[in-house]
């Protein structure tokens, strides 16, 4: 039996991408360092008053997460494109949609998950309350996969173009605005004493919606870019 089930295929792609990334750890770290750096620049720019920082923290961390995830997007398909692997993947009889989903998951584990894990430390720098920090982590956990998914469509469309890195941000950032609004809104809700569950529920809804459609759309975009 050498037929792969879809789950096996998914796991295979994820394992492969993680393995490749582990061989070049610097790439993963750059995104993380960029995130930490952007967040740390804000107090330097607006001043160190704890009250104001506490109020801004949710928005600042979310915008920084958005920018950090844009930074790593061009890498999602470009290495495979350059060495010809992507063509082989597309020629394979297995579902391209599932393979794209695998690449999205791997991309999130390398660029989104580290941000979720480092966020509490940065939250403490901004003097956030423990409740707000938990909500922020939960919101990032639900929201950053959506960024990777929408980003995958942009990355696939701009594959191999000159100046693709800037272009992909231009295409993807407007589409991620709802995630930003409700992600930052969840933290804001906790700060003003309202239940954050409606914001988190909407983020979850975006996640499911994107999970259903974006791998397929990104696969179509890859076909357009590769033909």
């Amino acid at each position: 039996m050498n037929r792969l089930s879809l789950i096996d295929l998914l796991l295979l792609v994820i394992r492969r991408d993680l393995l490749l990334a582990m061989r070049r750890r610097a790439d993963v770290l750059t995104t993380l360092i960029f995130f930490v750096m952007v967040v740390s620049l804000f107090p330097l720019g607006v001043g160190p008053e704890a009250d104001m920082l506490r109020k801004m923290a949710g928005g600042v961390l979310w915008v920084a997460a958005l920018l950090a995830s844009m930074l790593s997007l061009p890498r999602m398909f470009s290495a495979d494109h350059l060495d010809g692997t992507l063509e082989q993947i597309m020629l394979a009889p297995q579902s391209l949609t599932v393979m794209v989903l695998g690449k999205i998951v791997a991309h999130w584990m390398l660029s989104g998950l580290p941000l979720v894990l480092i966020a509490p430390v940065l939250g403490l720098q901004f003097d956030m309350s423990p409740a707000a920090i938990w909500t922020l982590m939960l919101a990032l956990l639900l929201g950053t996969p959506v960024l990777s998914m929408i980003g995958a469509v942009g990355a696939a469309l701009t594959l191999g173009l000159r100046g693709g890195g800037v272009l992909v941000s231009l295409l993807v950032l407007p589409l991620t605005i709802p995630v930003l609004i409700f992600g930052a809104g969840a933290v804001e809700a906790v700060n003003s004493g309202i239940d954050a569950v409606s914001n988190l529920a909407l983020l979850g809804a975006f996640l499911l919606f994107a999970l259903v459609f974006t791998p397929f759309v990104a696969a179509q975009a890859l076909r357009i870019s590769m033909e």
């Binding site: 469509v153 295409l171 407007p174 589409l175 605005i177 709802p178 179509q220 975009a221 357009i224």
Partner: protein, 245 residues
């Protein structure tokens, strides 16, 4: 007699048709602009609350409506081009994009000019303004993607996919922004429910039709240029009298 519905879906036949159609849209647009401006500036009475400054709505409202409407039309053409692989649909989509972006920009600009005397600020983070700004970003993304891909077929299909993804996202963005605004502070500015004077309604409606006709005329003339550019090495173009010289 069988009608060939697809006759004008070929760039070579549509080129001539578009050329014949343009005056039929351009002249009425010019005349209606004249009438609309006349009624707007000289016939419509001064507003009780906003005095003369309200007159900017005669240009602001039509361009705002059309900037949103054109995005849908553009996405519709893009989808047609992607599904049926008709070259002309994709050309129409890219011909509409600059007009849509221009209207979105004029809408923001006139809005700012109106906002300064009325609200005392060039810009407020009102849901309506914010979503119009995001719409402008979406147009710019579409144009930028098209401009940066050299192969026209790939450019058409890639930007078509982007336009479709964008149009699915537009309602989500719109309601998010509205919700965000009410969560933050509750909209402080609302349009009063007062009924409009008849002359104001007439002028606004005439200006809307004029902008609409203008958009069609300019898109048709732009699509003619795109056809000339894309088909420059085809035989029918070489035989066309008007471009041979």
């Amino acid at each position: 007699m069988a009608i060939n519905w697809f006759k004008y879906s070929a760039p070579s036949t549509f080129y001539g048709l578009a050329g014949k159609l343009i005056p039929w849209f351009a002249w009425p647009a010019a005349v209606l602009f004249g009438i609309g401006f006349y009624i707007g500036f000289f016939v419509a009475p001064t507003d009780a609350v906003q005095s003369e400054a309200y007159r900017i709505i005669f240009i602001h409202v039509p361009v705002s409506i059309l900037s949103m409407f054109i995005y849908l039309i553009m996405a519709g053409y893009a989808a047609l081009g992607l599904i049926f692989k008709t070259r002309l649909s994709a050309m129409m989509a890219s011909a509409l994009a600059p007009t849509g972006a221009l209207f979105a920009f004029i809408s923001l600009w006139t809005g700012a000019l109106w906002g300064k005397p009325m609200w005392g600020a060039w810009w407020v983070w009102d849901a309506r303004l914010t979503s119009e700004l995001i719409l402008l970003f979406l147009y710019l993304g579409f144009i930028a993607l098209q401009a940066s891909i050299e192969d026209p077929r790939r450019a058409d299909r890639a930007s078509a996919l982007l336009a479709i993804v964008g149009s699915v996202n537009v309602p989500i963005i719109y309601y998010s922004v509205q919700w965000w605004n009410t969560l933050h502070q509750g909209s402080s500015i609302k349009f009063s429910g007062t009924s409009m004077h008849v002359a104001m309604q007439q002028s606004m409606f005439i200006m809307l039709v004029a902008c609409w006709l203008y958009a069609i005329a300019i898109a048709l003339s732009r699509v003619r240029s795109i056809i000339l550019e894309r088909e420059s090495n085809t035989q029918w173009l070489k035989e066309l009298g008007e471009v041979r010289s």
